[in-house]
Symmetry: C2
Subunit: 356 residues, 2 copies
């Protein structure tokens, strides 16, 4: 049978094409607004094409798990999830003050450069950030238009709209704690970090897409509940792996700066183990790297070596293994075809081993 990553790779272009075509169709109604409109739609199109398309693909997988056919309406719902994701990344990059995303300049950086010749130098950054705030706001709203325009039963559109609104609100709230904790000097309790992971990533990246597919398929509540529990575990594994890649990953493969979580003093699970839960001897040279935004590659390498040698990386891996064991047990308990179970198990494996 086909591997889940091959299935995703095969479907991603179709999902992204739906989003591209939708944005293209909006040029007609948005174009007359002003000189920014068509350019904004095209920047969004370009930005979207470089996404990993995990959420859109998970929506399709959720529908299959619920027994629904892969319809054009379903593809549009998947495309809408991707449009939302690209939009929220734009605000995320402003909040994290990141200059690079998906291997290209972040949108606020692009806009800052674009307006440079037209505004006073000291205003360019504020104007660039403001333009990017608005671009994302456009994307959020068009997400709902795309969903409402999808060829899906009215009841499904209505349920998904209500569901997405609440779940995306949770993402916004989780992002609040993320930025606060990053700038606060206090270490965060493990429960607080895990709540952040749950609401900013696990539910948003795994539950919402999978459940969206199940809602479209009108799947039984018991299956939806089991998939909700499973997808939170998948999401926790994904996020902790993300933290690991943010420190130990390859910048070229990731398309974003490695070490920025350290520079920004993000309260990741690695931060927690290092500052709060580490039984190793304290190393001020290493802890001083956290929140220092002028670190070079050698500093990052020293942090990596310490996290490895002190056993912190292994402790984090043990936690990931615990989650993945629970997720495997859950998958095996589901009343699903062996093909679908294999795909879900492959998804765990991907979350455990991904490099981008």
């Amino acid at each position: 049978m086909t591997h889940i990553l091959d299935i995703f790779a095969e479907r991603s272009p179709d999902i992204l094409a739906r989003a591209h075509n939708f944005l293209e169709s909006q040029k007609h109604s948005l174009g007359p607004v002003n000189v920014w409109a068509v350019d904004a739609l095209e920047r969004m199109q370009t930005f979207m094409q470089r996404g990993k398309c995990i959420r859109g693909n998970l929506a399709l997988l959720g529908a299959e798990i619920g027994g629904a056919p892969l319809s054009t309406g379903l593809y549009d719902a998947a495309a809408a999830l991707e449009l939302f994701q690209s939009s929220i990344l734009i605000h995320d990059d402003i909040i994290d003050q990141d200059a690079l995303r998906r291997g290209q300049e972040t949108l606020h950086t692009q806009y800052t450069r674009t307006v440079q010749p037209s505004v006073p130098p000291s205003h360019a950054e504020h104007v660039g950030i403001s333009l990017a705030i608005c671009l994302a706001d456009m994307g959020f709203n068009l997400t709902y238009t795309l969903l409402a325009s999808a060829d899906l039963p009215p009841a499904a559109v209505r349920s998904l709209t209500a569901f997405w609104g609440v779940e995306f609100a949770k993402v916004g709230l989780a992002e609040m704690d993320d930025v606060f904790l990053a700038h606060s000097s206090e270490p965060a309790a493990l429960e607080r970090i895990l709540a952040l992971y749950r609401f900013k990533t696990a539910r948003y990246t795994f539950c919402v897409p999978l459940l969206s597919g199940l809602i479209i398929a009108n799947a039984p509540a018991a299956l939806q509940n089991a998939m909700e529990e499973l997808s939170e575990l998948l999401g926790l594994i994904f996020q902790i792996k993300d933290d690991e890649l943010g420190i130990f990953g390859d910048e070229t493969a990731l398309g974003k700066p490695v070490g920025s979580d350290i520079r920004e003093n993000k309260k990741t699970i690695f931060h927690h183990y290092l500052f709060t839960a580490c039984t190793c001897s304290p190393n001020n040279d290493i802890t001083a790297c956290f929140g220092n935004d002028s670190l070079d590659d050698n500093d990052i390498q020293r942090v990596r070596d310490f996290l490895t040698d002190s056993g912190i990386r292994a402790a984090v891996d043990t936690r990931i293994t615990g989650y993945s064991n629970r997720a495997r047990d859950l998958i095996n308990s589901l009343s699903l075809s062996s093909e679908l179970k294999t795909l879900l198990l492959q998804l765990i494996h991907y979350n455990l081993t991904r490099t981008t």
Copy 2:
């Protein structure tokens, strides 16, 4: 018969109560996210209670014009428009770098003060702004949940969701030109200023609510088209009056700083007449005030006197009179009851004479 302002004043508390109760009900699902959630919902509740509730009221009026009864579903749609408006004002205030709104600290200013004890002093503003970006993102998404939860026919919910998404996207795009023009040293062409007014205010504040009510009422296309034209005129009058109040208004009554358009060099219609279309002799002392953010009350008064003495204020008034004459003709041509026509004429009068 009852005056439109009295009708609005009577209905506003009910519209805002729907929004308040909806946000209250969200504490249950959003509260578990983190320490910010309930506080965020309450800040939004407090902020919303101080709104003028124009959009919500216009949605009810639109439904009446379309012949629909005032149902709880309609009130929820009206409340959703108000929730969106409060949310976008939060981004607007970040973009305009304003400290005061609706007579209180803007949300990013509130958050900056809140985080002050917990983050390094040089980070507080960025964290405050970031928290407010997220708060508004929460509000945008909950807007759609509130609409989708309203007791309205599924087809109406779907049409409104698709319509709002596109129209709110236009507001975001218009805001882009607004911030760019404010920081650009080039004067803007009149067509560009009017397009900004059309998409940032006229359609958003008047067309979208009135048409939303008409869509809920399932009104005939001809009536929707006529109301669309009328509401754009009403909106242009409203916006130009807004510019006038921003220079000539009373700060206490407005609840926001008077003169900030001058300090921020906003390309309002007054700016256009002064810099491009004025036949009066140039006055460098006056033009230098635009874009100077350290103006005091005396400087603002000198600008006011010049705009009055030079005939610019009268020229702007002439333009407003032209729009209101066309709007009156349109109202008289509609097949509506004399009561509804009187209410619409009162709306023009309000837009022409409002002080807040």
